[in-house]
């Protein structure tokens, strides 16, 4: 944890190939190899020659219109998408809080899901055992529910469980994609102060959001993306007002 974290991105491109039907069926491959390779594919560039550094201690918001490539860029940083070209140099353990509960299995119980997802997020069984009472306590899930399949949970309960697990992490690099509404007003309140602690403790935070209030609150720097490229990079206090003006103008 003492080592400094950084993210260095050089000329990163991400081209998506869009297939009219994603998986080629055998028939297509055999009967029409040219069709399958040619006409059905279309390529578009989701991230276009992006270069930037994020240093230890920075709190960055990625902003931009829908489809500007924010989430794709985030997924490249998280290692989910391999970039088509360009290089990544990342130091520090990344914890993606990109949609919580992504790894939840509906048939498993709350407790089993905590162990599975804890492992996915990098906790050993023993570490999870130590943290379990805190996680369950914070989630406010009634104890008689914790050994029930989570498919019987309300969506609020599922989100609370996922959030409580995520908040147990001590991430070096934390990345968020559109922060979730976690349960009722009381829980949201409790959750956001917990999140602030987590962000304060992290080396680097990257946040993708359309909520400018959130960006203003958490980020010190903004990267503004348009059509996969960075068109503005600067202090949040400068970039955000300009972005807001532009967005309001373009709206009918």
């Amino acid at each position: 944890m003492s080592e400094k974290s950084h993210i260095r991105i050089r000329n990163v491109n991400l081209d998506f190939t869009v297939y009219s039907n994603r998986s080629l069926s055998l028939r297509e491959v055999i009967l029409n190899p040219f069709m399958a390779r040619g006409a059905q594919k279309q390529s578009f560039s989701a991230v276009n020659d992006v270069t930037f550094n994020i240093e230890h201690g920075e709190r960055v918001a990625l902003i931009g219109a829908n489809g500007a490539g924010k989430s794709s860029l985030l997924k490249i940083i998280a290692g989910v998408y391999p970039p088509t070209s360009g290089t990544l140099d990342i130091r520090g353990k990344i914890t993606p809080l990109i949609e919580m509960g992504a790894g939840f299995h509906p048939e498993l119980t709350g407790r089993e899901n905590l162990f599975l997802n804890g492992a996915i997020l990098g906790f050993s069984r023993r570490e999870m055992q130590d943290r379990l009472p805190d996680i369950i306590g914070f989630s406010e899930i009634p104890l008689h529910f914790i050994d029930t399949s989570i498919k019987y949970y309300s969506s609020g309960m599922q989100t609370r469980l996922a959030f409580s697990l995520a908040m147990e992490l001590a991430p070096e690099i934390v990345i968020f994609d559109e922060i979730f509404a976690a349960g009722d007003a009381h829980f949201v309140d409790k959750a956001s102060s917990r999140m602030e602690q987590l962000i304060t403790a992290a080396h680097i935070m990257i946040l993708v959001t359309h909520d400018l209030k959130l960006a203003r609150r958490f980020a010190s720097r903004c990267l503004w993306l348009q059509k996969g490229a960075i068109i503005k990079d600067g202090p949040a206090a400068e970039v955000l007002p300009e972005y807001e003006r532009t967005m309001l103008q373009t709206q009918p």
């Binding site: 069926s25 491959v29 992504a102 790894g103």
Partner: protein, 262 residues
């Protein structure tokens, strides 16, 4: 080396692997009354019906105890097939998590193989004890070869499973094709009959089937009570190495862009 990276990440993510395997095993029998016993009832019933039909109705003779012969061949075959079937869904079923968090894709086919392997080991042990108790099986020194045969079987299956899991993301026909091919495979592998019973002109076909060489090790050890010959071991090791290297090569080639094809 790619393979060193993958082995390292399997180790680094071992907790995930353990959780995936235990979830798989738990979920399969949850809420069923007989629970895990089903995985034992299934082979016992299969071996029973095969023995009745093939020794009393159609008269097949392997020159050895037929129950033992089918047990020795069918149990590893069943593991292999279950592994191959599981492979199709291994990566596809975990799409939602793979789209959000980086996880080495190899975890999923390996976890399927391990879960089916656990089933196999439990069955093997239980049936073994039963066969010894009813004195169908005399423990012999040949059994010392069994652990090696089991390791080869596991590695062979893992190699093929890893490749199938990746290929099926690109070409979804793969899992259907596997079902059909394994149906053929059952008859093209000496499981319910002995390789000796095959007319000479057809024998090369059966010997080209790599699975034959894996299953034969079990039959020699368990059913004949002999330690496999150098040639039998050699063929077993060869087909395992081919499956492992070939399977991994296919996987490694497809892995990088797999996420875009889910």
């Amino acid at each position: 080396m790619r393979i060193a990276d993958d082995l390292r990440s399997l180790y680094r993510y071992r907790e995930v692997l353990v959780n995936l395997v235990s979830a798989d095993l738990k979920l399969r029998y949850r809420r069923s009354v007989l629970g895990y016993f089903w995985s034992l009832i299934h082979p016992i019933m299969t071996i029973t019906i095969m023995t009745i039909v093939l020794t009393h109705v159609v008269k097949v003779s392997t020159g050895t105890n037929y129950v033992l012969y089918v047990f020795a061949g069918w149990l590893p075959w069943n593991f292999l097939v279950n592994g191959f079937w599981g492979a199709g869904a291994a990566i596809i079923n975990n799409e939602s998590v793979l789209r959000k968090i980086y996880l080495p894709k190899i975890l999923f086919p390996v976890s399927v193989t391990l879960a089916r392997f656990m089933d196999f080991m439990i069955n093997l042990t239980a049936l073994f004890l039963i066969l010894i108790i009813i004195s169908y099986l005399q423990p012999s020194l040949a059994l010392l070869g069994l652990p090696i045969a089991i390791v080869l079987l596991f590695l062979f299956t893992a190699g093929v499973t890893v490749a199938l899991a990746a290929v099926n993301v690109y070409i979804r026909d793969t899992s259907h094709m596997v079902t059909v091919l394994m149906q053929w495979g059952f008859y093209l592998t000496p499981i319910i009959y002995d390789l000796k019973q095959i007319p000479d002109e057809y024998r090369p076909l059966f010997e080209l089937n790599p699975i034959t060489h894996i299953i034969r090790l079990f039959q020699t050890i368990i059913s004949k009570g002999l330690f496999p010959s150098a040639e039998e071991w050699g063929m077993g090791v060869l087909v395992t190495a081919l499956a492992l290297i070939g399977g991994y090569a296919v996987f490694a080639r497809l892995e990088r862009n797999l996420i875009f094809r889910l």
